[in-house]
Amino acid sequence: MSFPLLTATAALPAIGAIATAAVPAARRTTAKWLALLFSLATLVLAGIALARFEPGGARYQLTESHAWIKDFGVRYELGVDGIGLALMALTALLIPFVILAGWHDADPSPSSQLRSSRGGPNETKPYRWRPTQGFFALILMVEAMVILSFEATDVFLFYILFEAMLIPMYFLIGGFGDRAHTGSDENAAAQRSYAAVKFLLYNLVGGLIMLAAVIGLYVVAGTFSLSEIAEARASGSLSMATSTERWLFLGFFFAFAVKAPLWPLHTWLPNAMGEATSPVAVLITAVVDKVGTFAMLRFCLQLFPEASKWATPVIVVLALISIVYGALLAVGQRDIKRLIAYASISHFGFIVLGIFAMTSQGQSGATLYMVNHGISTAALMLVAGFLITRRGSRLIADYGGVQKVAPVLAGTFLIGGLATLSLPGLAPFVSEFLVLVGTFSAYPAAGIVATTGIVLAALYVLVLYQRTMTGPVKAEVQGMADLKVRELVVVLPLIALLLFLGVYPKPLTEIVNPAVQHTMSDVQKKDPQPEVEAAK
């Protein structure tokens, strides 16, 4: 059989994680470079996958299938459609930037070395704690799991990864907090572990409820393989009772809604993103959370089409609430990172809305949205991180007039912000507009409510920019350095990508469209036709 490209794409970062973790404590820089190297290699593999993928071809391509746990009806089945591929590529793309941006985040801080010197009875023995190695190893581990989860076409395999990726994320959040915190170190540590535990418990509860549904699915279907289930459906040998299907759907959807996160299950995100270092925050919102929305598209709609349609009204309402609510709370935040977190909640509302509008435009838009939001949030969050590490505070009120002393930083920050408010010409506009149009053509009222989101987005972004970057230069901001080369290397490619995808999204839409058409046929939905068949 051919070279298992998908497995390799996921395995490479995993190997990288182990290799990085194995680097001796003293050789911190080696570990960093090793991690970067592996992430780049993964990116290359992802690129190859993109090249090998034929938009017109079979629904799932580059497939692999091996027996795994027969007794559970589980196979190791991989395969990507346009959606999975796009997100996989996004992940592979972002991780190098995340690593590069977090280059110094896990260096042992002077304070902790101080603490180690008065380490109680074992003063003589220094810690064998290797934060740097751990940090990058965990990031790579997350990458591996996320990529594999985008490739999995076996529900059980997906579930396992969906759950397992919580653990490294949990350590990343709880173990490597943002140095820029208010109050004492102990206090900060407490907040951090609170955030980490909150993150883990929320998602674990979601996952466990999903577990019940997964088992239920097995009892009903007797297999976890999407393809087999699809066949069984087609041949009519598998028919779920309406009520069963609805319960199972709810079980799955709950887990994904926690991950996404959808109102009112969102409160873990601001804590997590606020306490984590900004690269990790990017990892959460730009990469890991995408698994949730992706899974809605891949599993909820495909496995339970009827139930999905049944639940649509409620979900649409929840999505709308997320959009408006998230935006309003973003306006009300005092902490830069929490603000971005709430903005993300609003954006996830858009994604869910697009998915459950069940129109081609909506779902294509949602998929593009996942990618674009990943890039734009990464840009904004990472620049914000650079800003925060310079000043050592997350509070908006502590900034002012930065653009005077660090124009490039301010400029990139502004572009990231403009992308967040989805300005035309930048990538997010395309996806957001598609989602809006798609929603509007199915549910006009919902479309209009969602449109208010674009005003609110402008509000929180511009307020943030005005308070931090403009006005007279604050004393603490005086002499703040502008972006360094490493930081530029992180930011500029992202911005370039935002511009490119904003002007020419065709490459993306080409691979996404067929997948969306498949999903549409899964749920047996047709796009509402315009009342006038105008000459196109």
Binding site: R115, G120, W129, I160, I167, G175, A189, S193, V205, G216
Partner: protein, 554 residues
């Protein structure tokens, strides 16, 4: 020996039988070959006692360790041999005049017990953790169990370098009992086996080197409650005997499903209905549920787990559960299948309260050993969910779960033995703060075990939990699955709490040190981790094993 065997001897002597002279001299047939695992262990145990008597003190420790390890290994080899010989599947049958059932579950569980105890025994033999006293290495057992803690006699014993090497034969006896317990095919054997593996455990609990008072208290509690429960068990047996006129599983089963009527007329008119059967069955169940540690028969668990020497706790927590659940399975599937409609609802209730109770109470625990005790209670609940499935799938899932769980447990307690401060093991959770900073490796390993307990995917815990829940759902116990999921969510909370403590909180200035163990404990922990991960990543082979073994011989 079994009741029927003895009975036949008796009739021969009494001559009140109309048997033909030819069979007068028919001796009971004992298939020694198939009992080798048990026989080996018991034999070596006896030898061990002799060693205590005759081998000079210096050599005893090594002799005993050597003997024990060899015995367990040999027994395990024997089990493998039997399995290979097809006794688990095709040639499964009732041996020793109906006293012992040699079949899949028996061999699987015996194998599990033997391996677990083998691994556990390494921690018994560990002598590097405590600082050497007067130049003698010491293990976690009292120099002289009989002497009062802190008394001169004890000091003298320590000075003389005494060690309680009796623990090894005791373990062997206990193991022997455990081997027979799930294999027992009549109630008397069941009872005897129960006592044989319980009594040594009572003693083992009492002989801790450190915190002897707690250790002895644990022993007293365990002993009294154990005896109490075995009294219930025995009375249950009596009633069943009264109902069926025999203690052999097969006979009772036949009577229960009415294929044979053995009810004495005198009983019929007095007792009339199946009261004897129901009450007796219930009492036997409670006796077994006590050993399993199911709510509300669990109260002994936390105290005993906490007080007993940690190696003993590990051994007890792992092996006892395996044996007890084995016996429970056989009882429910072989003897009382006809009563399924009577006992299932009760077991439902027990399973639910066990899962929830164990998980909820564990939240507020502050001692790591107690925490693990409560977690073991919650796990008992999960296994019960599988037991209730009453499908072949259910049996194999329980077998698999037991195998997975026992290794995690032994490993976890082995790690607990490593974390020590001036007062011996530092079991209070506050002491564990920042362990991840001090010794990342140990903390990481323990984290792995905790995650397995919590049933996080890619660990054996998840595979087991999934198997059990799947079986339960298939067996129409979907409700149990939901409760199980909820309680695992609750349980996750306190496992995570420990991880938070180890990794995210700053080390205390007077924090404990992590002793560097000898290869013995390292092996224990290593095996634990290995099994945890293997069963988590590629459980298929063992699932196959379990499902092949999942058939009881009647």
């Amino acid at each position: 020996m079994s009741a029927t065997a003895v009975h036949s001897l008796w009739t021969m002597a009494g001559g009140v039988t109309s048997a033909a002279p030819a069979e007068k001299f028919k001796a009971p047939v004992i298939e020694y070959a198939q009992l080798t695992p048990v026989l080996i262990v018991i034999g070596v145990a006896v030898v061990g006692v002799l060693v205590e008597a005759f081998v000079p003190r210096r050599a005893r420790y090594y002799t005993q360790v050597f003997l024990t390890v060899v015995a367990l290994a040999a027994a395990f080899a024997a089990v493998i041999g039997l399995a290979a010989g097809g006794y688990g599947t095709t040639k499964a049958h009732i041996a020793a005049m109906g006293a012992i059932a040699i079949d899949g579950p028996t061999l699987f569980l015996q194998g599990t017990i033997l391996l677990t105890s083998l691994v556990a025994v390494f921690t018994f033999a560990e002598r590097r953790l405590d600082p050497a006293a007067h130049g003698n290495h010491v293990d976690s057992f009292a120099a002289q169990a009989a002497s009062v803690p802190g008394s001169d006699s004890e000091k003298a014993a320590v000075r003389a370098g005494f060690t309680t090497t009796e623990v090894f034969p005791l373990v062997l006896f206990s193991v022997a009992g455990m081997l027979v317990f799930p294999a027992a095919n009549d109630l008397l054997t069941l009872f005897v086996a129960l006592e044989v593996f319980s009594l040594p455990l009572y003693l083992l609990c009492a002989v801790a080197r450190r915190k002897r008072l707690m250790s002895q208290e644990a022993a007293v509690k365990y002993f009294l409650l154990g005896a109490f429960s075995s009294a219930f068990l025995l009375f249950g047996i009596a009633l069943l005997y009264g109902y069926a006129g025999s203690v052999s599983y097969a006979t009772i089963a036949n009577v229960v499903d009415g294929s044979v009527t053995r009810i004495d007329p005198a009983l019929a008119d007095t007792m009339g209905n199946d009261a004897l059967l129901l009450i007796g069955g219930a009492m036997i169940l409670t006796g077994l549920l006590f050993k399993v540690g199911a709510v509300p028969f669990h109260m002994w668990t936390p105290d005993v787990y906490q007080g007993a020497p940690t190696p003993v706790t590990g051994f007890m927590a792992a092996a006892t559960k395996v044996a007890a659940f084995g016996a429970l399975l056989r009882l429910l599937y072989v003897v009382l299948p006809g009563l399924a409609w009577d006992w299932r609802p009760v077991m439902w209730a027990v399973a639910i309260v066990t899962m929830l109770g164990g998980a909820i109470v564990a939240i507020t625990q502050t001692d790591i050993k107690r925490l693990l005790a409560y977690s073991s209670i919650a796990h008992a609940g999960f296994i019960l969910a599988g037991v209730i499935a009453t499908t072949p799938d259910g049996i194999s899932s329980v077998l698999f779960y037991l195998g997975a769980y026992s290794f995690v447990t032994v490993g976890a307690f082995a790690v607990v033995t490593l974390v020590r401060d001036a007062g011996g093991e530092a079991t209070h959770l506050s002491k564990w703060a920042g362990l991840g900073r001090r010794s990342p490796l140990v903390a990481a390993v323990f984290a792995v075990f905790l995650l397995a307990f919590a049933g996080i995917p890619l660990t054996s815990g998840f595979s087991g939990k999934f198997a059990v829940f799947k079986a339960a759902a298939d067996g129409g116990a979907g409700g149990l699955v939901v409760v199980g999921v909820i309680s695992s969510a609750i349980a996750a909370f306190f496992y995570i709490r420990v991880i938070v403590l180890m990794f995210f909180s700053e080390p205390k200035a007077d924090g404990p040190t992590v002793a560097v163990p000898s290869p013995l404990t390292m092996t224990t922990i290593g095996v634990g981790v290995a099994v945890t991960l293997v069963l988590g990543l590629a459980p298929q082979y063992f699932l196959d094993l379990a499902s092949q073994a999942g058939v009881f011989v009647r």
